[in-house]
């Protein structure tokens, strides 16, 4: 739906897309140059969300197709971190032996996103950059304290996943990779049984240092430091569907389940 002056809310479809130019980028440099040359250009990777954005009224004049950049499809260990290319699909990432062996529980959680067809096209980068509260990439990666690596005409920059909602990025910034700092025994548990009312990711390492991320369909993920000595930091997690009391109680129930599963794993 989009609002049109004089007509109110109207349903749109792919039949009424605005005209736009296209750059099919072969490497990151070409993509960054194209984004710098075309103010407000959109980025096409898996395309799972972009067309929905078009249908909601998004009208860029240029599209930069990054789906053929192989350098953004790799998953590797480097400098004590797990690097995941922004164009890695949910299918590729969740089936990756590197992901499965590096952070127990992460691949299993990742595999729960969407359905098989969408997982084979949709990318982790698109999931994050869509900035939709119902998408789950930010929930899992926030719990893992991941950071996002961008390239732009003005050089690289790096932000925490949880800052994706409000960060003012350099013009034409391209998300190229997700970097997860590795710690001894880092593992993840994702409780999704009440989705979309509430989901919760819990990541913890051998020293008990970890983060709890509580999310609902309608609100941004909430982070809670659960490391020893962090203390309890109460926060409001209520949304239009469920109130604070219910969600706080549920978060506690989920956390007990999750800690038990992690202890047994």
């Amino acid at each position: 739906m989009k609002r049109v002056d004089g007509a109110g809310l109207i349903a749109t479809s792919f039949r009424s897309l605005p005209a736009f130019g296209v750059t099919v980028a072969r490497d990151i440099g070409e993509a960054v140059r194209a984004l710098a040359a075309h103010d407000g250009a959109a980025v096409l990777s898996g395309g799972a969300d972009l067309v929905a954005q078009f249908n909601e009224g998004f009208a860029p004049t240029h599209l930069v197709d990054i789906s053929r950049i192989d350098a953004m499809k790799s998953i590797e260990h480097r400098n004590g971190c797990l690097w995941i290319g922004a164009c890695v699909t949910h299918q590729q990432g969740s089936a990756s032996a590197v992901v499965q062996s590096t952070i127990p529980g992460f691949a299993e959680a990742w595999r729960k996103i969407a359905n098989v067809r969408i997982r084979m096209s949709a990318t982790i980068g698109g999931n994050l950059m869509a900035r939709r509260t119902r998408y789950e990439g930010a929930i899992l990666l926030s719990a893992l304290a991941a950071r996002l690596q961008f390239e732009s005409a003005n050089g690289p920059c790096d932000i925490a996943v949880e800052d994706i909602w409000d960060a003012v990025l350099p013009a034409g910034a391209l998300l190229t990779a997700i970097r997860i700092p590795l710690r001894d025994g880092l593992r993840l548990d994702y409780e999704r049984s009440l989705r979309p009312v509430m989901t919760q990711a819990l990541a913890i390492d051998l020293e008990g240092i970890g983060q709890l991320v509580t999310a609902t369909e309608f609100t941004r993920p909430r982070l809670l430091d659960i490391s020893p000595g962090a203390g309890y930091q109460p926060y409001a997690i209520g949304d239009p569907v469920a109130g604070d009391d219910y969600l706080n109680h549920t978060a506690g129930v989920f956390m007990r389940r999750q800690l038990a599963r992690l202890a047994a794993s």
């Binding site: 736009f20 972009l50 067809r117 969408i118």
Partner: protein, 163 residues
């Protein structure tokens, strides 16, 4: 905006064309090539009625630009039949009456083909996971799952004969 040149393979045959940047694959197939097998349903990539295979991967034709098929191998439901003989998936769907209105059938058969190319011996849960990618508004899932299970058996038998 200038049309974009595309070179691709459609159901095994090399083709070349020019398409507007904003043209969707499902429109290209239906309106330009007169291949009506891919249906338009939700127009948001959710229902899967417009499913086609791109390099063996199922994609929603309503959410995939036509220019993206450049250099790719495209398979539509029209390519399942070979030399006048139905594909084992088509035969299984027919034998199990795995359609009511038939609107989802093209997409369901192509999802099944993609599944068979990724998993030669899927169990029932795996079949359900794959089929859940698409929507049957008539809710004929029991027949569809039975047809897919049958297609898996027929495909395995055919592969055994060929070996």
């Amino acid at each position: 905006m200038s049309p974009l040149q595309i070179r691709y393979s459609l159901n095994g045959k090399a083709r070349e064309d020019h398409v507007p940047p904003s043209m969707m694959l499902v429109d290209y197939l239906r309106d330009r090539l007169d291949l009506k097998g891919a249906r338009i349903g939700c127009s948001r990539g959710v229902c899967g009625a417009c499913t086609v295979l791109v390099d063996g991967k199922p994609v929603a034709g309503c959410s995939y630009f036509a220019f993206q098929i450049d250099g790719r191998n495209i398979e539509t439901v029209e390519g399942l039949e070979q030399d006048g003989k139905w594909h084992v998936i088509q035969q299984a769907f027919a034998d199990h009456s795995a359609f009511q209105c038939g609107y989802c059938t093209s997409g369901m058969m192509l999802i099944t083909k993609a599944m068979l190319e990724h998993e030669s011996n899927p169990d029932r849960q795996s079949i359900i996971d794959w089929i859940s990618s698409n929507v049957c508004r008539c809710s004929g899932y029991p027949q569809i799952i039975a047809a897919v299970e049958d297609a898996v058996e027929r495909s395995a038998a055919k592969a055994g004969q060929a070996a």
